[in-house]
């Protein structure tokens, strides 16, 4: 590995993004698409080459500086890369999914006026994400972290004339900023102890920090590492949409579907997972922080999945599924099974990107309709989309031999082995989540691709995705630029788990890039019973998750294909539960009806009451008035009449005399 090779990987997408963004109109649509696809494709090829070097050729990790950002007070802050096996894996996932999405975009955004702008944004995103995963220090990590957030902001608000889109992008940015608020404090905490922002210095000092207490207030002290890790994890909660900072992700579906696949499923939202895995040398020394991670993740995994069951918007169902799956990854982190989290991150990136792109294909086929109640029976019209969507769904629910099976089953078993505080709760959450996952996933499949064709009446209503014009007619299969990426993603969705579970989880393929202390190493416990991927899958057939998933599919089949009336009766019978779910546990209500108005109220009070009434009214204009009053009064005293002066003189004498008398 040479520095130039590594620099080229993020730089190519950046340059392409600048070209398409600044000169997009001049060079035209085809050239904009071409240059960005070429750049991201090259970055993907180079990433694969780097992965080959670190995984197959055993080239040691590269940790070095590209340039010095600044030096302050003896602290060097640098832009630099750490490319080890963990990073290489992320680079491949990011660039590969990004490449597929780039190609897909040609078809999906064909009729959009913002074609060049869109390509510029997704290329810029690829640059930012690569800077994030390749960083060797906290400053650059934060740069990538915020930069992906900004591109996400720009892309959610891509159709900027829609009120819902610009509401969603502001919300996404602000909720992420709440996370970043914690994140930056965590970084400051690292700097407090290390006088450096480089990972290697922080990792080196972590073991000795384990027992250090940090004075939070005069009387109380907390473990320094726990404070740092929880602060950092708050950042991950924002970016990876963990409860209660998850509220932005479902709304982010206002953005065009390709970015839902790229940013809000496969890559950006997994940045938090990646970050915690990267920081495993810190988190491993804080039992409390890991328990916190575990509980937050488990809650998100189960309860967000439930929301997918009541939603009718095809993209939002997948968005809730993403929330739930991110919760699964977080649970794995909390159980110290970092490698499993990254493994699930990878398989999820493929099959979830596939599901989103398939949903996008359905949306195009349905002439920009997203309501599943207006679909049904689409398999006949869109065979490639239907088959690939089936593959993605089977992977998602954890069908043996599919990629999702390997990662999810390993994850659940790892949590089962954990003895950390909260692990039992987490275990039941992830187990219950399997049923829920299968239920909402196949509800989507059955409502969309099977059963009665309900799209005849669809076009009378408003079209949700109304940026294009082609209305009318029956659904149709999408062009090859749309279906080819589906196929390209379907292949790893099937095989990647089978191929990589051995080396990644039990072969120590991550090497030193993930640190697990011996006492916490639940993956090693699983490793004792691991006898190859086939045996693992066959064993899975007899385990709880498989039967729960099967039960979920069967329930969905019965409720949505065989006996839809029962569904309606159930919905009526469980109306209280349903209301809570439809209102998304009232998180949005609290934010929009309480938090936001409260902030504005505080602002109004401080402005009108503090600035205008007290400071300006009483102090500033008050002192001006006082001066005025003194002047006016002084002027009145000087009447010019001798008798007035004489009168005051007499009064003055009387007072003086009186005073002397009293004193005497």
């Amino acid at each position: 590995m040479t520095p130039n090779l590594l620099i080229a990987i993020p730089l190519l997408p950046l340059l392409a993004a600048l070209l398409a963004g600044l000169a997009g109109r001049r060079i035209g649509r085809a050239a904009s698409a071409g240059v960005t696809i070429l750049a991201v494709g090259t970055a993907c090829a180079l990433s694969l080459y780097v992965a080959k070097l670190v995984y197959l050729d055993g080239v040691p990790a590269w940790d070095g500086t590209v340039y010095q950002w600044l030096v302050t007070d003896g602290v060097r802050m640098q832009v630099g890369f750490l490319v080890d096996r963990l990073t290489a894996l992320m680079m491949v996932v990011v660039t590969f999914v990004s490449f597929c999405v780039h190609v897909y975009t040609i078809g999906y955004m064909r009729e959009d006026d913002g074609f060049q702008r869109f390509f510029s944004y997704i290329s810029l995103f690829t640059f930012a994400m690569l800077m994030l995963v390749m960083s060797n220090n906290f400053m650059q990590l934060f740069f990538g972290w915020e930069a992906v957030g900004v591109v996400s902001y720009l892309l959610i608000g891509f159709w900027y004339t829609r009120p819902s889109a610009i509401h969603a992008n502001l919300k996404a940015f602000l909720v992420n900023r709440v996370g970043d608020f914690g994140f930056v404090l965590g970084i400051a905490g690292v700097a407090y102890f290390t006088h450096s922002l480089d990972y290697k210095d922080a990792f080196a000092i972590a073991p000795s920090l384990a027992g250090v207490q940090f004075p939070l207030t005069a009387g109380t002290a907390v473990s320094a590492l726990t404070l740092i890790c929880i602060c950092l994890f708050v950042g991950a909660m924002g970016k990876s949409a963990q409860m209660p900072l998850h509220v932005w992700l479902p709304d982010s579906m206002e953005g065009p579907t390709p970015i839902s696949a790229l940013i809000h499923a496969a890559t950006m939202v997994t940045a938090g997972i990646f970050m915690v895995a990267r920081m495993s040398p810190l988190f491993e020394f804080s039992e409390a922080a890991l328990s916190f991670v575990l509980v937050i993740g488990a809650t998100t995994a189960f309860f967000m999945g439930l929301l997918g069951v009541v939603n009718n918007d095809i993209k939002r169902v997948i968005a809730y599924s993403t929330l739930s799956q991110l919760g699964y990854m977080t649970v794995a982190l909390g159980a110290s099974a970092y490698s499993v989290a990254i493994f699930h991150l990878m398989t999820h990136a493929f099959f979830k990107a596939l599901l989103f792109l398939a949903a996008g294909s359905v949306i195009i086929g349905m002439h920009h309709e997203q309501d599943m109640r207006k679909m049904g029976g689409l398999a006949k019209y869109m065979p490639v989309t239907a088959v690939t969507c089936w593959i993605g769904s089977l992977a998602l629910i954890g069908t043996p031999f599919f990629s999702g099976f390997y990662s999810k089953d390993a994850l659940i078993e790892a949590v089962g082995e954990s003895h950390r505080w909260g692990a039992t709760y987490a275990y039941y959450c992830v187990l219950g989540g399997v049923f829920v996952t299968a239920l909402y996933t196949f509800r989507l499949i059955f409502m969309t691709f099977h059963g009665k064709e309900r799209f005849a009446q669809a076009h009378d209503d408003h079209a949700h995705d109304d940026h294009a014009h082609g209305h009318g007619g029956t659904p149709h299969e999408s062009p090859w630029v749309v279906t080819a990426p589906l196929v390209a993603l379907a292949i790893p969705s099937v095989v990647i788990g089978y191929l990589t579970i051995g080396p990644l989880l039990f072969g120590g393929a991550f090497g030193s890039s993930i640190f697990v202390s011996e006492a916490n190493d639940v993956v090693a416990v699983l490793g004792h019973e691991y006898h190859g991927p086939v045996a693992f899958a066959l064993h899975g057939l007899t385990a709880w998750p498989f039967w729960l998933a099967l039960a979920g599919v069967a329930t969905a089949w019965y409720l949505y294909l065989v006996n839809p009336r029962l569904t309606e009766r159930l919905a009526a019978g469980l109306s209280a539960v349903r209301t809570v779910l439809v209102n998304k546990y009232y998180f949005d209500w609290v934010n929009e009806k309480l938090v936001a108005p409260l902030a504005r109220l505080i602002g109004k009070l401080l402005w009108k009451g503090g600035d205008q009434l007290l400071i300006d009214g009483a102090l500033v204009n008050g002192s001006a008035k006082l001066v005025g009053w003194v002047a006016v009064t002084g002027r009145r005293i000087q009447t010019g009449y001798l008798y007035t002066y004489a009168f005051w003189m007499v009064i003055g004498l009387a007072v003086l005399l009186g005073w002397f008398l009293v004193r005497a």
């Binding site: 340039y67 010095q68 950002w69 600044l70 030096v71 302050t72 007070d73 003896g74 602290v75 400053m139 934060f142 740069f143 972290w145 915020e146 930069a147 900004v150 902001y153 720009l154 608000g157 900027y160 004339t161 009120p163 610009i166 509401h167 502001l170 940015f173 602000l174 900023r177 709440v178 970043d180 608020f181 930056v184 404090l185 970084i187 400051a188 905490g189 700097a191 407090y192 006088h195 940090f214 004075p215 939070l216 207030t217 404070l227 902030a599 504005r600 505080i602 602002g603 109004k604 401080l606 402005w607 503090g610 600035d611 400071i615 300006d616 102090l619 500033v620 001006a624």
Partner: protein, 505 residues
């Protein structure tokens, strides 16, 4: 005795140019305009050898000029720069150019006088940063008020008289107390030279009074809560150029004053009263951010945002002693000061750019109300790109200059006290909230009304102005090292000065 040199040129060239422009008058306005631009650009050009020739290895004043001025008071025409004043001088020269260009066809009333006022003010402001004689500093400090007073008073909005008087009284009252302090120091030491003042031994009581007198002058300029209310009024009434210079340069005088006078001259009083400074800084960040959130006038919103961002400057400047108390080492004190300095330079660029953006819209629609806009991106896509970029920079996005100073101050304040960092870091949320909510209401959305529908996108002149500021904001964000390098020795020296007690042991 060193004679006239490059610093004098920087001070007097714009002033002489301004007088020349004034002489040309409104009848030859085209010529006046080009002359003004040429002078502004020449001033920027002169800063290049200053920057290049500056010795980064020493904290001594450089390019020193010393000529007799008021010999009766032992006051000299004494100029010099160090790592603290150099970046601010360059900033002043640079920010004058966009002001001249932005006014090109917009100012119709007495244009020549307008340009002249800005050029003269630029010279006087450079004089403030370059003066290393207390009385000379005071001369420039007060003289600078006059052109600004005229700019708001002549080219301002409908309530300009109230705003100018408020502005003038506030700043003048503070400054008079500073003059008293300077005279006291002169009486004690018999010398106005800055280095002599820095070394003058003072008792704690003396220091306390002098610190408070300086505080009156500098706190008003920054402005710190609660003496900040003149700023929103002044901004609202000022013409675009006035707002730009006010926000970009004049506010920095306060921060500069703390670094140049308060900290080194009264280190023990600064240490004793640091709690007050920190408290006021934190209030500035949190309280003012909430106030910014509910503004309906774009200029007021940006004015309040400026106050909140300047809170980082005062916090970074006064956090050192708490760091020593908390960690037992000075490590991080310099980082706070570095952060304060970077924040000043960065805020100069960003707030200037934000006010220019508002000016661009105001020129077309003649309203500063947020509610008068909506969906500007539909008619002005290029402008929208700049507006979004500067707004993100104002929210402290990494990769822009707005991030650097805030990041350093947050890290430094964490060393002093977790809760300081906790409170200032809220700007991540609040700053993004008020800035991007503004963007949402003004830039995004469907075209709101006919006025917006008729807006023309940026012309070449505006494109150059905003484009060059955008480059500055990005370069400083991606590679701030050269700026930090210039400051390094002087900041190090300042840390020594402020942590060395002047009291007898």
């Amino acid at each position: 005795m060193q004679g006239f040199g490059i610093l004098s040129l920087l001070v007097w060239l714009p002033i002489a140019g301004g007088i020349a422009v004034l002489a040309l008058g409104d009848r030859r306005v085209a010529l006046a305009r080009w002359l003004a631009l040429a002078v502004a650009l020449a001033t920027v050009a002169i800063t290049i050898p200053l920057w290049m020739g500056f010795d980064r290895g020493t904290a001594e004043f450089q390019f020193v000029e010393r000529l007799p001025w008021i010999t009766a008071f032992n006051s000299w025409y004494h100029l010099g720069v160090d790592g603290i004043s150099l970046p601010l001088i360059v900033l002043t020269a640079v920010m004058t150019v966009p002001v001249i260009i932005a006014a090109w066809t917009v100012i119709e009333k007495r244009p020549a006088q307008y340009y002249a006022a800005f050029l003269i003010m630029a010279g006087l402001m450079i004089g403030v940063f370059a003066a290393i004689d207390g009385l000379l500093f005071y001369f420039f400090w007060e003289a600078m008020l006059i052109p600004m007073f005229l700019i708001i008073g002549v080219w301002g909005g409908p309530r300009r008289v109230y705003a100018t008087i408020k502005f003038f009284l506030y700043t003048f009252l503070g400054s008079v107390l500073m003059l008293v302090a300077l005279i006291y120091l002169y009486v004690q030491g018999g010398d106005y030279s800055l280095r002599a003042l820095h070394e003058l031994p003072l008792t704690l009581v003396e220091q306390r009074w002098i610190f408070l007198a300086f505080l009156a002058a500098f706190a008003v300029k920054v402005p710190m809560w609660p003496v900040h209310t003149w700023l929103p009024d002044a901004h609202v009434e000022a013409p675009t150029g006035g707002s730009v210079i006010l926000a970009a340069i004049m506010l920095k005088m306060g921060g500069y004053g703390f670094l140049r006078f308060s900290l080194p001259i009264t280190p023990d009083a600064s240490r004793e009263l640091d709690w007050l400074m920190i408290a006021l800084s934190l209030i500035a960040v949190v309280y003012i951010s909430f106030v910014a959130l509910v503004q309906t006038d774009m200029k007021k919103l940006i004015a309040y945002s400026s106050i909140a961002h300047m809170g980082f400057v005062t916090l970074g400047s006064f956090v050192a002693w708490d760091i020593v108390a908390a960690t037992g080492s000075l490590h991080g004190a310099g980082m706070g000061l570095d952060g304060a300095m970077v924040q000043m330079v960065s805020h100069g660029l960003i707030s200037g750019a934000m006010f220019l953006c508002v000016g661009v819209m105001y020129d077309r629609v003649h309203s500063r109300e947020i509610s008068a806009y909506g969906g500007v991106i539909n008619t002005m896509p290029k402008f929208a790109g700049f507006m979004v970029l500067f707004s993100l920079a104002n929210s402290g996005l990494p990769g822009t200059s707005g991030f650097v100073g805030e990041f350093l101050v947050i890290i430094a304040s964490f060393k002093a006290n977790f809760w300081y960092a906790f409170l200032v870091a809220t700007i991540l949320i609040l700053g993004a909230a008020y800035t991007l909510w503004l963007v949402k209401r003004v830039v995004y959305g469907p075209v709101a009304n006919e006025h917006v529908a008729q807006m023309q996108d940026l012309n070449g002149r505006e494109l150059i102005v905003l484009g060059s500021l955008a480059v500055g904001v990005l370069v400083l964000g991606v590679w701030p090292a050269p700026l930090l390098e210039v400051m390094q020795s002087s900041i190090h020296h300042l840390v020594e000065q402020m942590t060395t007690s002047k009291l007898p042991l």
